[in-house]
């Protein structure tokens, strides 16, 4: 007997695998080609201005993305324990803990852990944890750490904030010129930003087909197929991938093929995926006709580059990321998604690791329900550490929540 599938797999998955494997291969074996090609390897945060780094021919690797891979490969608990054994608190972000665990014990890490960096670039637009986490890594490898400090936006972007970030970017250029031994190639930067912009636009357009009924994509599709937009933004490989992905999603949209069989309840997801349970968690929804038609997390990479000169654009784009914005902004964002995507409900993952994402969720949840009349469910878990996931209580909540949509 074949197991009943409640969701439709994407054929782009093959191309995704090839694209990502090539990237991992290049990253893992960087030591063999990096020096010859004069292309240093940088560990960077997910919200770092990677277009600038690529203009300097830097090869970026993302500890957050590796941490997600560690988690889907069930290595996180053990790697976290290594870090905890060294004295890192269990309350520290599980991406940071598992990354540090992987640095200390690469033999326990999938893909053999991350290759040694030549420099580190941290931007605090996603959280404050990255600053101390990257300082630890900088001390461990004795490599330079470049920090981009983006002021938290309580309302809209201010001239002062923009000038402050712009000045830092200019300073970062001087440092990158020293580290790489190359001057900034402005044409190359403009080219990087153009590719980045085209890639983002394809990711965005593909997502927008999910406004239709039935939605051609579900949350696991978004979470899995977001990998290149994070790590290969600004590359031809990334652009080629999203051309194919967009084409497939468009095709599904035209043929009215839903990601979930018998889509019945349309939901919006808020917060990082629960990587150790990404499929089993989602199955609880698909088997009852629930589909996550969009999310705030992978949608964070579907934002157009801000206007202005390349540097001005980078300053604004990276300061205005949603995690660097007020609860008011986040509330409006969720209300808009619910309306645009015709959602019946929303699910918030109160993520033990990610404080900036999770801390204000309860306030947002209440206001969104008041404004839209659409119910929201709160799930307590962790993006990477399976020890913070309580199967039965979660099943209970999800079932009860979905039952409220029954007659």
């Amino acid at each position: 007997m074949t197991k009943k599938r409640n969701y439709r797999p994407l054929r782009s998955a093959d191309k995704l695998k090839k694209t990502m494997n090539r990237y991992y291969g290049l990253t893992t074996y960087h030591r063999y080609w990096g020096k010859i090609a004069k292309r240093p390897l940088a560990w960077v945060t997910s919200g770092a201005p990677v277009e600038l780094l690529r203009a300097f021919k830097i090869h970026p690797a993302y500890p957050e993305q590796y941490a997600a891979i560690y988690s889907t490969n069930k290595a996180t608990a053990q790697l976290c324990q290594v870090a905890e054994g060294e004295g890192y608190s269990q309350d520290l972000c599980s991406y940071a803990r598992s990354n540090i665990g992987g640095v200390l014990r690469p033999d326990l890490a999938p893909l053999g852990g991350m290759p040694k960096p030549d420099l580190l670039v941290a931007c605090n637009n996603i959280c404050g944890t990255v600053l101390k986490w990257y300082e630890v890594i900088a001390r461990h490898y004795d490599v330079p750490l470049l920090v981009l400090d983006t002021p938290y936006l309580t309302h809209e972007m201010t001239d002062h904030a923009k000038e402050y970030v712009l000045a830092q970017l200019k300073d970062m250029i001087i440092q990158l010129e020293k580290i790489t031994g190359r001057p900034l190639d402005e044409k190359e930067l403009a080219k990087q930003m153009e590719i980045s912009s085209q890639t983002t636009s394809l990711w965005k357009k593909a997502r927008q087909y999910c406004r239709e009924l039935p939605s051609p994509l579900n949350a696991p599709d978004l979470f899995i197929h977001m990998a290149p937009i994070v790590v290969l933004r600004g590359t031809k490989a990334g652009l080629e991938y999203y051309k194919a992905f967009h084409e497939e999603v468009e095709e599904r949209y035209k043929e009215k093929l839903g990601a979930v069989e018998n889509e019945r309840i349309r939901l919006v997801w808020d917060n990082i995926a629960i990587w150790p349970k990404v499929f089993s968690f989602n199955k609880m929804f698909t088997e009852r006709g629930g589909c996550f038609v969009t999310d705030t997390y992978s949608g964070g990479w579907a934002i157009d580059l801000a206007p202005g000169s390349p540097l001005e654009s980078l300053a604004a784009t990276y300061t205005e990321v949603f995690l660097n914005r007020s609860p008011e902004f986040r509330y409006r964002q969720l209300v808009e998604l619910i309306r645009e995507y015709n959602a019946d409900g929303f699910v918030m993952h109160s993520n033990r690791s990610c404080k900036p994402y999770s801390l204000v969720q309860e306030v947002i949840r209440r206001r969104v329900t008041e404004e839209t009349g659409v119910p929201g469910l709160m799930i307590e878990a962790d993006m990477a550490d399976p020890r913070a996931y309580a199967e039965e209580p979660i099943r209970n909540r999800v079932q009860a929540f979905l039952e409220t949509f029954d007659d």
Partner: protein, 257 residues
Amino acid sequence: MAKIFAGVDIGSLTVKVVLLNEDKEIIAYDSARGGYQGRDVATNLLEKLLAQHGLHKDDVQGTVATGYGRVNFPAEKDVSEISCQARGIHYLFPGARTIIDIGGQDSKVIQLLPNGRVGEFAMNDKCAAGTGRFLEVMASALEVNLQEIGDYAAKAENATEISSFCTVFAESEVITHVSAGKPKEEILAGVCYSVASRVATLAQRVGIMPDVVFTGGVACNEGVKKALAQEINQPLLTYEEPVITAALGAALYAVNL
């Protein structure tokens, strides 16, 4: 042939079974300690109840299971205990708008819409504070029966403050109070307030609207009931058998299968 509908609630500590006739009248109910053998206990309890009332398995027209053991129990349908609790309480108390349920392993607060449907709900998360298990641990540390907690607490003039949320830490706090010679009554009154304040916080998250109904095994505990009514500043209604209301809701679902 009689037409019977069964609701089976396999909770973390106890199993409850309710039988209804087609007019939704309660014919029989019972509860038993479940634990490891929850599903077998439920099957035996159901058979026992049927036999006691001269009924046969074939008389059962529909069964709905709820509680932690619901998934693999041979029933026509499994429904979460939140929906079942709402259904059962709305049937017993049509004016109820808030349910506070404290069971063995979890506590929950359910907001009911005027039509009896679930509006919103909140549950304790990955922590035994504010649950029946918390009371069990404290009863055992103080060497009293679970059922006696309320009586002891009622006799206390003052309540000792238990500040830890964590059950294990709270237990060592209780032991410290015992060594300090604090009377059992006062410590138990403190234990009741600790559970009540934890659950009251949960209730505030959902919003408390009268009538408020208190269910679950802990609703039998007068000490917690009194402390909770004070904490939320609302009188609490209870059904004479507060442990069976979710099973009753399940049986009501079975009637409408």
